[in-house]
Amino acid sequence: MNTRFQEHSPLNALSAQNLTVSYKGTTVLDQLSLTLNAGEICVLLGANGCGKSTLLKTLAGVLTPKSGSVLLQNQALDQYSARQRARQLAFLPQNPAAPDSLTVRELILLGRYPFRHPLLPAGKQDKAIVEEVLAQLELGSMADKPLGTLSGGQRQRAWLGMTLAQQSEILMLDEPTSFLDLAHQYDLMQLIRQQNRQQGKTVIMVLHDLNQAFEFADRLIFLRDGQIIADGSPQQTASSPLIHTVFGLQTLVMQHPEQNHPVCLPLSR
């Protein structure tokens, strides 16, 4: 029994085969293949316009590839209804927007929408999950505050809460730390790691900060011109020639003096 289960349990949470995506006649992704393992934190890295956001959106089913396919739990993504997909895959956009007067609790409860019965209001279970998420993110004290009164870091945590309430296997984030200060960036990344380690969530995100990626990712995927040019753990991939190829910047890559991950210091163009 157990081995059968093992056989059928998908180790790859999400995979893409020969993805080609074009936007306004330009090819953004070119014959790209990728398999995302269950339970890892995977970070997409690359210069502006290299296709990392496009890749994330194609993997999420927002963009339709010109050719190739995306498989979610070994089943074609376009076979899923939007509701079914939302139960498996949560996505936090780069610029999420909601009215300022919406409260944190109400926002997080919206994450339960894909599970809600079409005729009934939110049930006990939905509400219990919202409370659980509020506790996990330490948002309990501000649960009934309107989003407009929160700081940037708190608001981003509330949005993360909405995606967590979806209780999906996969969590996708598009530059989640963009508008936060250093400490709040760190807090948010810690929360994401905690979700990965404790809840077993598979995380794939786009980040701009290399050092953040080196610290928190299990796996880095470097993109250039719509293709993957490096794929591996931070220890395997972090090198100044690669960073120069990807970003066109001379850097010094070395081991963090106190932690077990590489760091990268910019030198010159």
Binding site: V62, R85, A86, A90, P96, A98, P99, L102, P121, M162
Partner: protein, 323 residues
């Protein structure tokens, strides 16, 4: 707590509505309703045959328009949207004017039916278009359509016979003066089905508050729900137009008033929007009858006069436009 406001305002408005008009009634006279034997027949007729049905019509139409406005604003993601903007009122007006001018011997009973037919044809057109474009584009189409239909109506009015046109003009500005029990039964018959459907659609519209991408990733971007909502908005406004002519601003204002007191979620705003719509319409009709009694101002006119400044005030003082 917040609901107490409606509980306090509604009886006051009801009382004011029953008392005021071309003949002002005292509270004692109203209380006599419960002792029919002691009441003058004219007074009881005034209340039961004129004011009561008119009051009920005002409330039903207000509630219908408030809900239609909320649904349209939520689904289109545009807090400035108003059912009147879609061209439905103008569609109804055009068919009525067309019929009155081309068939001078027309039975007046057929006028509301003509209005409904016109409104529903525009709805059909909008529904067809909604399958092919974004909700925001639909509003722009509605505005263009409104102008076109209004221009055509104006053209017909220029060539029409003067006497008939006066009747049409009163109806066009939105009046409850002719409301009777038949209108009440017509409205409540339809609304018995339409309001629950509208409330249900509001419950499904909660994720519409979010940005389009988040909404989509929650599996909430369902085109059939968009189309159904639009169809319902159109039917609700067609119904209101048929009974009372073009009444503007309730669809725009009622949801905004509700937002002052309640959470912005459409599911939480459905009932408050209906209540504030009913209150607004009742208030406007009462004012229209009381201010220059015995002269009656059409409710649509009063709403435009009090509604427009009220809306401007809301825009300036509240961040209503921010999403």
């Amino acid at each position: 707590m917040r609901w107490l406001i409606y509980l306090a305002l509604l009886p006051l408005a009801l009382l004011g509505c029953l008392q005021s008009g071309s003949v002002t009634l005292s509270a004692e006279q109203l209380l006599l309703l419960f002792q029919p034997s002691e009441m003058a027949t004219t007074t009881s007729q005034l209340i039961l045959q004129l004011r009561l049905p008119r009051m009920l019509c005002a409330m039903l139409i207000g509630a219908a328009l408030g809900l239609a406005g909320l649904l349209l604003q939520s689904r289109s993601g545009n807090p400035m949207a108003d059912p009147g903007m879609l061209g439905i009122n103008q569609g109804a007006a055009l068919t009525v004017v067309l019929l009155l001018i081309s068939l001078p011997g027309l039975d007046p009973v057929l006028i509301p039916l003509a209005g409904l037919a016109g409104a529903l044809s525009i709805t059909g057109l909008l529904w067809w278009l909604s399958q092919r474009c974004q909700p925001v584009a639909l509003l722009l189409i509605g505005i263009a359509l409104s102008s076109l239909l209004a221009a055509l109506t104006g053209l017909l009015l220029l060539v029409g016979e003067q006497q008939r046109i006066t009747t049409v003009l009163t109806w066009l500005s939105g009046s409850l003066a002719a409301a009777d029990w038949n209108d009440v039964w017509l409205l409540s018959g339809y609304l018995l089905f339409l309001l629950p459907a509208g409330i249900w659609l509001c419950f499904r519209a909660d994720p519409c508050l979010l940005d389009p991408l988040s909404r989509r990733m929650l599996g909430a971007e369902q085109t059939w729900l968009n189309s159904l909502s639009l169809l319902l908005v159109a039917t609700l406004s067609a119904l209101a137009v048929t009974v009372a002519g073009a009444i503007g601003f309730i669809g725009l204002l009622a949801p905004h008033l509700a937002r002052l007191l309640h959470s912005p979620l459409p599911s939480r705003l459905a009932l408050p929007s209906m209540l504030s719509g009913a209150l607004l319409c009742l208030l406007a009709d009462t004012l229209g009858r009381a201010l220059f009694a015995p002269l009656q101002l059409p409710v649509g006119l009063v709403l435009a006069i009090i509604g427009a400044p009220m809306f401007l005030l809301l825009l300036i003082t509240r961040k209503t436009l921010k999403r």
